[in-house]
């Protein structure tokens, strides 16, 4: 006998259908399915752990309250991820009034070869790399995450962030350069590999 527990759902469609009927057991299963992965995404987009928790909670509240809008249950994975990313964008759009961008790092001339950075990143553990990404200004961090990790194009990013194509490209370049500089500052350079 189980208490406060749920039934097994045979497919994602069935699970989404139950969530759309506000079945609490299904919501628990749905939450368990995505909670770790989405927490990882929130940590990438957030500056701190506390902000990541806020984004995560806000995103799941939106997910459960708007799950009726999900017309293709088999696409739930990408739908959930999109909601989480959009929530992160909105969060910083709402909370970030004006951001001081580190212009001193923006224009730093990059000397390293692309292969060097690939190796550099492989040397770092995830936590260190996450720390470097989290240190980036909000807009740069968002664009870097969306373009380099989540695979959005500049056009898609522009639409989601209400920015022009050119602005997105510019912010991406600055953010990328800042990230590379931070890697160098971290003390890991190509000749140490």
């Amino acid at each position: 006998m189980k208490f406060f527990t749920s039934n097994k759902y045979k497919s994602l469609t069935q699970l989404v259908g139950a969530c759309q009927k506000r079945d609490q057991a299904a919501q628990t299963v749905f939450y368990d399915r995505y909670k770790n992965k989405m927490t990882g995404i929130c940590l990438r987009y957030a500056k701190t752990r506390a902000e990541a928790d806020d984004i995560f909670q806000e995103a799941f509240i939106r997910i459960f309250n708007h799950i009726d809008d999900l017309k293709e249950p088999e696409a739930a994975d990408s739908w959930v991820k999109t909601i989480v990313i959009r929530t992160a964008i909105n969060y910083y759009h709402r909370t970030t009034k004006s951001e001081t961008l580190h212009s001193s790092l923006d224009n730093t001339e990059m000397q390293l070869d692309s292969g060097d950075y690939e190796k550099l990143m492989d040397q770092l553990n995830v936590e260190d790399l996450l720390g470097l990404i989290n240190e980036l200004p909000d807009k740069y961090r968002t664009v870097i995450n969306m373009h380099l990790i989540d695979g959005y194009t500049h056009v898609e990013i522009g639409e989601m962030m209400s920015l022009s194509d050119a602005t997105v490209r510019s912010q991406f370049m600055r953010g990328r350069n800042m990230l590379l500089k931070k890697l160098e500052l971290k003390g890991i350079v190509h000749h140490e590999i």
């Binding site: 006998m1 406060f4 009927k21 927490t39 928790d53 509240i61 690939e118 990790i149």
Partner: protein, 424 residues
């Protein structure tokens, strides 16, 4: 430009490798916070079941109140009275015949008796066609000198029938006699001993006025004519929920600082409503209850803080506070057995024990209960008993939670108040 693209691709590949499978455990309190903010389920099932319960209770009360009374001792007594009066009247009326000699005597008699009839005027308002026909017949009969008693009884019978079918027995008898008389003989030769009939009628009417109950002299408790009949039960209870919480060792996390509501706190108070049937002490009940479990605990972190408290030092391990607040609406069916004892005709002691299976309305969780109660039962009247007393129930099995590794064994204690409706 090409080198830029190359650099971007290299970065993308490196970052994707790092973060594609990156996962992290969320804050344990997050799910409760999320749950508190999401829309409540559309609970049509709950509404339907509530209406069903109300309907069942209402129907039961209706049948018990009205049908039970109509089939009760008053009706039986009236039938006895009718048969007695009928035989008496037949015996008395048959040999004594009075011939009506002229119209002058009959007409004043009719008007006087009509005035004497104490019939509420409201009953005249809703006459149907049949009644109108009867009125016409009455007028014709007066004109053709029908005997007074025959006419009046005929009219009176219809009026009472229209009101509430509580027919005055002597009217019926008079009607029957009148029919007998009317059929074989012409109106002018019919004769009834009016004075005798009149005295019988007035005496009997006074004893059988509708709505006047015969005073109850018997003990209400013991005079159930058929105690093996099915009785209706309605119960309400206020219950406080408790739990035996088991924290398994192999959970992989350290839990500390568990806090539960105090013994008399209202935070975990729930209600239980039951309706059902009883026969020979066996009760089949449909239960609806609200069940609340609330407690908080901390998931211990990896830091240890040494606090200086005067001359001593205390090590504190900070943790993340998690509050569990589980509220469920349960719908269940149960079977129990009640026994009674005591010598008082009005009050008895009772004890009952039973089993219940409940299912949550919002989710598909289920729970089994063993329940017991003891208390006193009071007779309000022959048909209604009230019982009140402490009530307790507990789940014999441990059940696991969904968001934590704990095992629960809930139990509930409270006061139960109920009513038993017995069909006479």
């Amino acid at each position: 430009m090409k080198s830029e693209e190359k650099l971007n691709e290299a970065l993308r590949a490196a970052l994707k490798r790092k973060f594609d499978d990156f996962e992290e455990t969320p804050n344990p309190a997050s799910f409760n916070i999320i749950r508190a903010h999401i829309k409540q389920p559309r609970n049509y099932k709950f509404l339907f079941l509530s209406l069903l319960l109300i309907g069942l209770v209402g129907t039961g009360l209706f049948f018990n109140q009205y049908l039970g009374e109509n089939a009760g001792p008053q009706v039986a007594g009236r039938k006895d009275h009718i048969s007695l009066t009928k035989s008496e009247l037949k015996a008395r009326v048959a040999p004594e015949v009075v011939t009506l000699k002229n119209e002058e005597k009959t007409k004043p008699e009719i008007s006087r008796r009509d005035a004497d009839l104490n019939i509420p005027r409201q009953t005249f308002k809703n006459r149907n066609k049949h009644q109108d026909v009867q009125s016409k017949l009455l007028a014709q009969a007066i004109e053709s000198n029908l005997p007074a008693q025959v006419l009046r009884s005929n009219r009176k019978e219809n009026l009472f029938q229209e009101a509430d079918h509580n027919l005055s027995p002597q009217i019926l008898i008079a009607e029957n006699n009148a029919e007998e008389i009317r059929q074989p003989a012409p109106a002018t030769t019919l004769a009834i001993q009016v004075s005798k009939l009149e005295s019988e009628q007035m005496k009997s009417t006074a004893m059988n006025l509708p709505g006047v109950a015969v005073p109850e002299k018997d003990s209400p408790y013991y005079k159930q004519k058929n105690p093996s009949k099915v009785s209706w039960l309605v119960n309400a209870a206020v219950l406080k929920s408790y739990q035996i919480l088991t924290v398994p060792k192999s959970s992989g996390q350290d839990f500390q600082n568990f806090k539960f509501p105090s013994v008399f706190s209202l935070e975990s108070v729930g209600y239980k409503f039951s309706v059902g049937l009883e026969k020979k002490g066996f009760q089949a009940l449909l239960h609806y209850s609200t069940f609340r479990l609330k407690f908080s605990y901390e998931i211990a972190g990896n830091e240890y803080i040494v606090q200086n408290e005067g001359q001593s030092y205390t090590i504190v391990r900070p943790g993340t506070v998690v509050t569990e607040n589980n509220k469920m609406d349960l719908l269940g069916i149960g079977l129990s057995k009640q026994v009674l004892w005591g010598n008082s005709p009005f009050r008895k002691y009772y004890a009952s024990a039973g089993l219940e299976y409940s299912r949550a309305i919002q989710s598909k969780s289920h729970i089994g209960w063993i329940n017991a109660s003891i208390g006193r039962q009071f007779a309000v009247n022959r048909n209604v008993l009230i019982h009140v007393g402490p009530y307790a129930e507990f789940s014999p099995l441990k059940m696991s939670g969904a968001n934590n590794p704990f095992l629960y064994q809930p139990y509930r204690v409270g006061i139960s108040l109920g009513m038993k409706l017995i069909r006479p």
